[in-house]
Symmetry: D2
Subunit: 512 residues, 4 copies
């Protein structure tokens, strides 16, 4: 079988050339699907044949002579396994070399790999942030890093190094831990949430450095409370990963969609075997040219789930690559998920939680508290809608990102998900009684109450203050976040409509 070299490189990685005490070695890694090695046929370095008698295969335990590998003595070579081939002979000079390896595999038959690789310089003298392989969260290494920062930059940090928890707790959340950012935190509320999971009044922790933010949300909450609270509903919940499979032509890509549907149970089985929580809901297929993009949709419980679905999708994809003979190439991500990016697919088809917050503010409540009439807000919403159309904004409301970000920082969410979570659809309606109905839909709110940064010191406290830490709480948190965001819309829209906006910034935001 003639396999194009680019595809071959997706099947097997080959390289990591280095000199050894008695010769040299390089590695071969199986990337895509379980196989066996059934023969080593030839190794060349810079056009010179290496005698195979001098070559061993090192899988980490007992080396196997290259000659010993054969169809009868096939060696298992599962996906992600790596073997190092060691040649006992002269060392290689520094600089670039050209390697060529011919070998036999159980699934693809005879293959030939070529690569140019270099014998790298002895030692890497690059200055690096100090790191301790054994315990990188110990006081001593953290101290060394703090010293290093001081020496490198000439700045001695006094506040960064000030934290109240055991750094060991951050293992899994950060590497090169050196201290903390202390982000000011204030409380707004209480806010009356009428959710299915969050019921009652909640104090809202907001970590921010933007003056007027807490005060502005507070005003909005007051109005909502006087209107009986905010009704919040999680209307959808799923997390995605979107691998792409590449084929010879569009025809195989199209047929692949049917193939996936036919094998959905096996694919689900592989995906779900990687986690006790992730549950595959369905797969959307998007076709363009010879590419088939699969958007896997999972339930992920109380975790945000990006890594969980990454693993599950990888397992499923590996199975697919193993079993679908027309796949020519594969990438685990393709910008259709879409992680850490605003996108129409997220607005349309949900990423994380899709939450709606609704309130009807009686006319008098609005006038008395915000000095603005429902008609003015409704009119502004219409004009701002046209503005959104012209600007191509992914949010026709005003600033839901503000509270979402402040709550994300406070509660240990992955704050970079503000990219997706800042999308919103605002809808404002003047009722027949001329009260003001508002509905804010957040289509891709990515939150967790378990895992990630949620268990860290201040983060967990903030979640606990809202009764939102741990299992079974994630929809409650989503409801609260949506309700708070709507409070901010009412507050800022009123300020814009009554022109108090600029002056309120002047009053509170003196640092600006």
């Amino acid at each position: 079988m003639k396999i194009p070299s680019l595809i071959l490189r997706q099947l097997y990685t080959f390289g990591s050339l280095r000199n050894e005490p008695d010769g040299f070695s390089f590695a071969l890694k199986n990337r895509l699907s379980d196989s066996t090695l059934t023969g080593i046929e030839a190794i060349e370095v810079d056009d010179a044949q290496i005698p195979l008698d001098s070559v061993d295969l090192d899988f980490g335990d007992e080396p196997v002579p290259a000659r010993a590998v054969s169809l009868d003595e096939a060696i298992p070579f599962p996906v992600r396994a790596m073997v190092r081939l060691r040649a006992r002979c002269a060392c290689l000079r520094e600089g670039q070399h050209e390697l060529r390896l011919s070998f036999m595999t159980g699934n693809f038959g005879s293959l030939e790999l070529k690569i140019k690789d270099s014998i790298s310089q002895r030692g890497d003298e690059r200055i690096k942030v100090p790191y301790d392989k054994v315990d990188d969260y110990a006081k001593s290494i953290i101290h060394r890093r703090q010293q290093f920062v001081k020496e490198f930059s000439g700045v001695e940090p006094h506040h960064l190094t000030h934290y109240s928890f055991d750094p060991e707790a951050t293992a899994g959340n950060i590497e090169n831990f050196t201290g903390v950012a202390q982000v000011p935190l204030g409380f707004a509320g209480p806010i009356q949430i009428n959710g299915e999971h969050a019921k009652g009044e909640f104090l809202i922790p907001l970590a921010t450095t933007e003056g007027t933010l807490v005060a502005s949300y507070n005003r909005g909450m007051k109005v909502m409370n006087l209107s009986g609270g905010v009704k919040c509903t999680v209307v959808d919940d799923k997390m995605q990963r979107a691998p792409v499979f590449i084929f010879d032509s569009a025809r195989e890509a199209r047929d692949f969609e049917a193939w996936v549907n036919d094998h959905l149970e096996q694919i689900r089985h592989e995906a779900e075997s990687t986690s006790s929580i992730a549950r595959l809901l369905y797969i959307d297929t998007y076709l363009a040219g010879k590419f088939a993009y699969l958007r896997f949709n999972f339930e992920t419980g109380d975790a945000a789930g990006q890594n969980m679905v990454g693993r599950a999708t990888f397992a499923a994809s590996s199975w697919i690559v193993d079993h679908c003979p027309t796949v020519r190439r594969f990438y685990l991500e393709s910008n259709l998920a879409t992680d850490k990016k605003a996108s129409q697919v997220n607005v349309m088809r949900t990423r994380g939680k899709r939450v709606v917050a609704e309130v009807t503010i009686p006319r008098d409540v609005l006038i008395q508290n915000m000095r603005v009439e429902p008609e003015q807000l409704a009119y502004h919403a219409q004009v701002a809608n046209v503005g959104s159309i012209l600007s191509g904004a992914n949010n026709n409301g005003l600033h839901s990102a503000n509270s979402i970000t402040a709550m994300f920082i406070a509660t240990g969410q992955d704050v970079a998900n503000v990219s997706e979570s800042s999308a919103a659809i605002m809808y404002v309606e003047l009722t027949e009684e001329r009260d003001l109905y508002l509905a804010l839909t957040i289509p891709s709110l990515i939150v967790a109450t378990y895992g990630g940064g949620t268990g860290l010191a201040t983060q967990r406290e903030c979640l606990e203050i809202m009764g939102c830490y741990g299992h079974g709480k994630v929809k409650k948190l989503a409801e609260i976040i949506a309700g708070v965001a709507l409070a901010g819309e009412i507050s800022l829209a009123s300020a814009i409509s009554s022109l108090d906006w600029v002056s309120s910034h002047e009053e509170y935001g003196r640092n600006r």
Copy 2:
């Protein structure tokens, strides 16, 4: 002149009804343009006339009898001024009342305002977060808030309350200050930046709770350093506010565009009078229906500048409303800025800094360090491009939001601006020598090195460690952020192409 009531309500606010010891009072506020009061003609409450002899006008100093106001005794009533009209007579019963006020003004002649307002309940028994009008950042009130949080929620915060700076410093950055979020902070780098402002090696503070993030950026930086560093260029710099002006029809809206151009110098004068820093660059006009959206573009020095341009645009808009007779209505913001929102206008026409980071990675450097060939990354970029087209993403790269967010938290930026700052245009080219050229364009990076949260304790330290605190540093910071973001693109793209992505998360990210 017959002015439609909705427009009238934009000219004057009227309300804030309350009982006084000897009667009742209500307020009248001038919203849009300087004028004079030339007569008080009639006041009715619930259809009963209030004798004008019993009414005084209270501008904050000596009261003026309503009868004394006349064309000859016109009283200045500048924009944003407020007068309280006090009627000495019976108090009003609790509940709703209908007020009607007829009065004369210098610019609009005789006007009549109606409103329904209520005498509010004595005292607001709503539970509130404790607040001290005199010094809200004093230890005592902060402690009272901490107690309140504990009592309200039943959760005693131990870590939240732990901070190393004087809370007074946060005045202007937060209201209801109660403590801090401690966000883990690690350093990546040093990274070699070849900017026009940032030149040399920089240690990068990253505040995050996402495992593998620091390590992943570190890998990318190593590859870039081995390639001679990353070239960074700020190609544009401006901050916007976008008011909307509303007219009788499209025709006046169109003519308004010409009017604005004709009066640009006066408009600039008004705008720039509000700040010693803000400089009006130009105004883009967008027309739809009877609306004219003006997108003001300012230079804002080392501040991010949203509030600065808000004030400047408000001043300019007030002048416009005063001088352009066809304007019927006005809102200071219209979703064309676009603040805290991903949008096409920001990608196209810049918001904040437009920065480009570029690097050419020699083929061997990539292969040896990332175990992936340039062709694989270039191919993935093409496939991911098609993915972005399908998903409608505002970023055809991978995850620039990650480092931008972590640096924003570390350095006291307004983190909610990740909404805009997460947009990116990634371009990957295989050179004729088969090396890999990458260029990351961040079209709307919103950063400051002065003002906002940049002066807070840990935030300032992080800026200082990069030599980026204070005046004249903002483009330097923008260059560094762009360089770091590109490091992350290389690292993750390599991981996706070599399939090590999932496993690297497994290794580092154990908390997930």
Copy 3:
């Protein structure tokens, strides 16, 4: 049951007031769901009661006295039925009147409708295009229209009136038929199509007035033929209609999605009962606020199917409104279909046919015929990709709209669908052999080979020349259109890359 008046107006239309020889009458129409009339309780005109003894109900045959209607004598009142209530009494004066009708229904109980309506002026003296109720396609009336055009405009049309077919054939395709537009038509090709339905060489009819268009496509076809032809594949096929259902809150909207899934078989039954061809594939639900948008996806055979799916969706929606008690309001279309509009949902999830055309052009063929190297086209594609990102275009190729439009006009398609059909995803790849692979994906190509304008005189001839008229041909036509569009991409991309573009226009397009 208190039903808000806006909802009531969706249930029943009421009006069409007119004077009769012996009194006056007005109509009541049932809009949304099958019901019965179980009583007429009161009729008022301008606050005067009309004696019910004088009122009859006219359903088109024998009138029923209003008094006779009762719970025991319930009168069937199916959806879309109309009854005229005739009152024998004085005629009404010209001008506006206020009507009030109280009546009982089987499903909603007692209802009251109010409306203001006018007795319209006798006769409408507006000038109108002449129209013949009996046979509007007869020579005589067509001639009268031509005369009318001449008289109205002072222009005597000589060419418009020149056509070669029996106008009767256009009944169902146009009203007020007066003549034809004669659009110049040229042939390009033959082009070698390697489809699943279109196999072989095809002559391509192009109706256009844009100079160079036919010549340009011809050049592209030559190159593709020399490359062995173009491979075309229909990868998806469906037509949509997207009604919106409105609820009291987001919670009912969300639950509605489950309800729809639970009742899918009944919904399908209702939908498919309206046509022997339409087959309901699936329904996508999109939620925002209190709205649930259902995007119905149908197979429609060889028709484009917009009207077919409109009827089917209306039938299904009527059933839903009848059976789902939480629906408060309903519109048959909501801008989620999306008909006659470019949209991301069409690019992502297909509208009409999703077709891919692919070709690999050998390096030499490209150089010899287009004087341009594969690298230049590949480079331009990359640069144009970035251009598309900046401009927010729904097509990262060059001008697929050109051939699609010219073929749509030639073959009797609904040309306004160019709005959707002009979207495209272009993908260009330099192969390892440095040949050029191109794939053009048209995600929303709306075509028919039966119905609509396809059976008209020249239109049918053009379809027949390609062997594409009638049943079972629509995918064949879609393949051909995609192949032709790709030819144009190659031709124009080569011209841009070789700079011959402007000069080729100069040479051919002298009318410009």
Copy 4:
């Protein structure tokens, strides 16, 4: 100077190898900027040197010996000039050859070009549509083409071949003219237009095959006429071409923007020298990576102007390339224009005409004529707005594409521009009197009243019937088109709101 080969290929094309009676020849074309030839240094074919004594340069008149070219005898070699180098020696065998040419130029010094080219087969036996070089619009060649179509397809066209004008008139509008598409044409109206250019009642020619279309627009026009007519305003007018200039890095691209501004007068001079009509308004620059996209904006009089601005921009770009030393590469189009594509840049910044149509329909007029209340239409508009946000549509109205397309076909516009012209921004407002204000903004309406297809037989008649043919009429036509489009919005929105939509299709559209 070492110029990378890809760039070199943009400077000079080289190829077109062919055998001559006494040897072989090949061509050299200057692509980008005026220069001189100052020496021919070497020619190699397949590694064999060709003696320069045997080589002549053929510029079309007297051949120049290669030896004669020198710095002292420099030969002018202006941009787009081509020289054929003829070598008197043996002919070349069929198949591929490698050519190498070293030569000296005035502006770039010594250059070396390499190419692989083939001696092509004698004669191209491909079947082609018959073509007559001398007079391709003569009866005889048209007849031969008709015969060819019949023979090739086996279908004898009877109607295609039926037209009423002299085919010669289509020269410049179509190649391979073979006949016409006869598209049914009906008239709607008259419609009362209150424009600045169009004033009074107009009969509207609609060429369509979509049943109900003419009737539906007619209904909308009636309602508008009863409301006093439609107010139409052209608010902007410009046509674009967007070349891209490529640099070594982002830094030069950014500096290029300033360079362009500094040289704007020269650039304008070059651009405007190509046409007596085109006037350069301004240039927008968009930067990404090392690319600078210039979007040239021109006034183009009564022509649509795409070709006019193509020529003008090409002239300007050639001058730029000649004078700006940092430009490395250039393409005349980059997907930022954006021609024949829906795009955000067109919606935002106009392409062609930006036109607004406005009407306020009195409540009674709407109810009596459309059986629907203003509230229902206003509500639908709000719901449809949310639908547009979800679908990512470029039109939040309903179907403006329908009338635009029908009028484009009727009046000889470039119908493929429906891609851009179908974008629209719909705005609906309930006035305080509860009448209905509607404004339709068409941001990129591309129309002409001169040039292109406007002078053809039926097309010109249709323009004349509206008084819109020829110079000074294009804004009048734009106003009329916008007014008609708004009529359709009212008609369809009413039908959707009153549920008569489906049934009206049933009644009229029997062919569906």
